[in-house]
Amino acid sequence: MSEAVELDPVESKMWITVTINGSKDTYLVEQRLTLADFIRKQVGLPGTHLGCEHGSCGACTIIMGNRAVRSCLLLAVQADGESIETVESLAENGVLSPLQEAFHANHALQCGYCTSGFLMSLVARLREGPIESEAEAREALSGNICRCTGYTGMVAAVMSLSSANGQNGEGV
């Protein structure tokens, strides 16, 4: 089926305009490039990680159009005209965001491979409203997988935020 198709190498690329972490740019991308690989290799932001590449682990979670999504399950061409946020948007001038600070303080990461995905899932969730209970914290964490921590530190990090920072979704 696919072998039979003659693809013009120029034709299989497309121009897209994407806003990534606030800066808008135009890129020429291969049609079959995933958004995750685009962000990592073409844009040069390696903070978005790839674990399973089929939607299960959450390491590649980013925010697109204000919703947390799996960047391994999107094509770069689908991001044309969209606004994307990656983990690199969180710290400002090397100063960790309150959520990152809470992760640090509560031992919410060990190897750190899963961390960017968890952070982006939580940023999107916290914009919808505060996380009030441990059950809500676990629900908010449930779409990502961590092989190291056992999640206890992450739950503690989320709960520490609720008391300290008012969790209004601003600046998490």
């Binding site: 089926m1 299989s12 049609q31 079959r32 690989d37 939607g55 999504v69 689908q78 899932s121 779409g143």
Partner: protein, 292 residues
């Protein structure tokens, strides 16, 4: 670069989608939410020559809730309906099903129609659509047809759609005042596909008996499975504890479920009885709420 080469199409009108489908048929795949298709492309389990991305098609991202029921177009995401309080109020069973699909990050992209077209036998929505007597509105370049949900699922991952057809929308009839429904499932971890799921629907009569029952299970057969014997068993009863124990027994004894890597047939048999009973117990509870 994970997926193998394809030619990408991003039409903006439904007619263009239908034109492309009629031209490329078997060589093409529709890309909706991508939450099932993209994994298969990444692993090269599928290598379509043409990918028809419907995400930029105008007019497909709306749903309408009215007196006659709910109509959901092809691009409505799981999350869109989940966050609609009116839909939750009108169809609590649908809301329960939606919140049991994967995790929010998946539901943010995945579509209702994509879940139905994908026809995974363990998925929640196919069973719920059959329980609610939904209708699939199917369209190709040259024809339109409406398929009752009950006739739509052919086999695991195979629906009634042919390769030139788009599932343009689904309609769900309104539930009457005395109609009740519940969805329950057993999974290993929250967000997983159901090992066994059960969608149960019925109507409480003025006499306090349950009528027009539908019991539809996910995960036990290559398609959603209607348990007609169990439906007959409970019809006309008051869903007393005795009836519930009886129907659990009937389901467990009569079912011959599939066995796979996720669990044994024996376990599925047992659990299906339990899940059906739990669902029906909730219908019994809802009788008190609607006060018949």
């Amino acid at each position: 670069m994970k997926p193998s080469r394809f030619i990408y199409h991003a039409p903006s009108e439904v007619e263009e989608v239908l034109e492309l489908l009629s031209e490329y048929g078997d060589e093409a795949k529709i890309l909706a939410g991508g939450q099932s298709l993209m994994p298969m492309l990444n692993f090269r389990l599928l290598a379509p020559a043409h990918l028809i991305d419907i995400n930029r098609v105008t007019g497909l991202d709306n749903y309408a809730l009215g007196d006659s029921g709910l109509s959901v177009s092809a691009l409505v995401r799981h999350r869109d309906l989940e966050l609609s309080p009116e839909t939750e109020l009108a169809y609590p069973i649908l809301h329960e099903g939606l919140t049991n699909i994967a995790h929010v990050q998946i539901r943010n992209r995945g579509t209702i129609c994509g879940s139905l077209a994908h026809a995974d036998s363990a998925a929640e929505l196919p069973s719920i659509l059959i329980a609610l007597d939904g209708r699939m509105n199917v369209r190709s370049k040259s024809s339109r047809r409406t398929v009752p949900a009950e006739d739509f699922f052919r086999f695991h991952l195979t629906s009634d759609l042919d390769s030139t057809e788009l599932l343009e929308s689904v309609d769900i009839p309104a539930m009457t005042r005395n109609s009740v429904g519940a969805f329950d499932e057993v999974t290993r971890r929250k967000g997983d596909f159901a090992l066994v799921g059960a969608a149960v629907v019925g109507t409480w009569s003025e006499q306090g008996t349950i009528e027009d029952c539908r019991i539809v299970c996910s995960g036990v057969a290559p398609t959603p499975l209607r348990l007609k014997e169990a439906e007959e068993f409970i019809s006309g009863t008051d869903l007393s504890d005795e009836v519930l124990i009886g129907v659990q027994q009937l389901v467990t004894e009569s079912l011959e479920p599939t066995e796979d890597v996720h669990t044994s047939a024996e376990y599925r048999k047992k659990v299906t009885g339990v899940v059906v009973r739990r669902g029906l117990a909730r219908l019994a509870g809802q009788r008190r709420v609607i006060n018949v």
